[in-house]
Assembly symmetry: C2
Homo-oligomer: 197 residues x 2
């Protein structure tokens, strides 16, 4: 997705060979116009998948997910990272290890929001080690529903997550795929001629 | 706001005289069409306030805030409830006590995202005891910026928050104001004739 790639190049900050900071437009401050375009792009890429619900995880997944939900005309649910007082019974949970924060979180979704008839599109801001996406897929599976796809804003293609998630057979669409951050430079995975990424 | 009041009446669950559960459309599952309407309503109510930025707090504030940001054509920032590894320096922080969760959180925003020239619209899903809104106002003040208004999706008008925030002199717009949850019934604050709420 060209607008996103350009935004990454102009506003992203490479902090190390593995860390890209995009807090000016994606995961702290958010650009609403770009979010809308991202939602529409997810909508386009998954419009034939019979999606009935979108699942994401708090917090940075929520804005792209609500925009995709608007485009696909389905409701969106976000998984919480820990239990809150008003949400204790009837939860589906999974454990997710965050390599960035070096901690394990329990993520949870109220079971009433994902039904066996659902075909769920999982949306997240980053795909790196794949733990969040796999945890969300685990929740969908425990609900007895189908995963209709995984939509990622930025994939760090040099880490394991993309391979791990694609190996499950699910359709993964990443709007920007980063091949390398070496030397402080963002390099995108080359796309096939005629194929927009 | 009529569509919101109707949604509260049909889908909200009164758990006690003080707790209204709206997790089917606002703070766990989200209805994207309603979120868009909420964003547009905030836009309408604050369009003359010279807003340059929207500030909310993770997680349930993000969807209404991004929709309002889209309508007002400004960027949105969400305050985090605890520090993450990639966001430690250059933070503005405030302490917020949550009566629901019975815990104090430090909320933080990167200082580069709120500048003294900014006129900030604060958006949140609920206004009850007012601690989150006051914490966000404190952050704006510490940044040297102005609060241009506070936009709330659901105000529990029988709790102290509305009074505390309005006493500061700031313009508060709540899209649904609940007078009482007694007897398992949602009663809205009566609106002046000819004034939509």
């Amino acid at each position: 997705m060209k607008a996103l790639q350009e935004k990454i190049l102009t506003d992203g900050i490479v902090l190390s060979d593995t860390v890209l900071k995009v807090d000016t437009f994606l995961n702290h401050q958010m650009d609403p116009v770009l979010m809308k375009e991202i939602g529409e792009e997810f909508g386009k890429r998954f419009e034939k998948e019979g999606i009935t619900k979108i699942l994401t995880i708090e917090s940075s997944g929520i804005a792209p997910a609500i925009m995709a939900a608007l485009k696909l005309n389905v409701e969106m649910v976000f998984a919480r990272k820990r239990k809150s007082l008003t949400l204790q019974d009837g939860l589906i949970t999974s454990k997710v290890y965050s390599f960035t924060k070096k901690e394990e979180n329990e993520i949870s979704v109220a079971e009433k929001f994902i039904l066996p008839i659902d075909r769920v599109l999982i949306i997240d801001d980053f795909l790196a080690n794949g733990q969040a996406a796999l945890g969300l897929m685990d929740i969908v599976k425990k609900a007895g529903a189908d995963v209709g796809g995984v939509g990622i804003v930025i994939e760090k293609a040099f880490q394991d997550g993309g391979r791990l998630v694609r190996e499950t057979g699910v359709k993964v669409e990443s709007l920007a795929r980063i091949e390398s951050l070496k030397g402080g430079q963002v390099t995108f995975v080359p796309t096939k001629q005629g194929v927009t990424s």
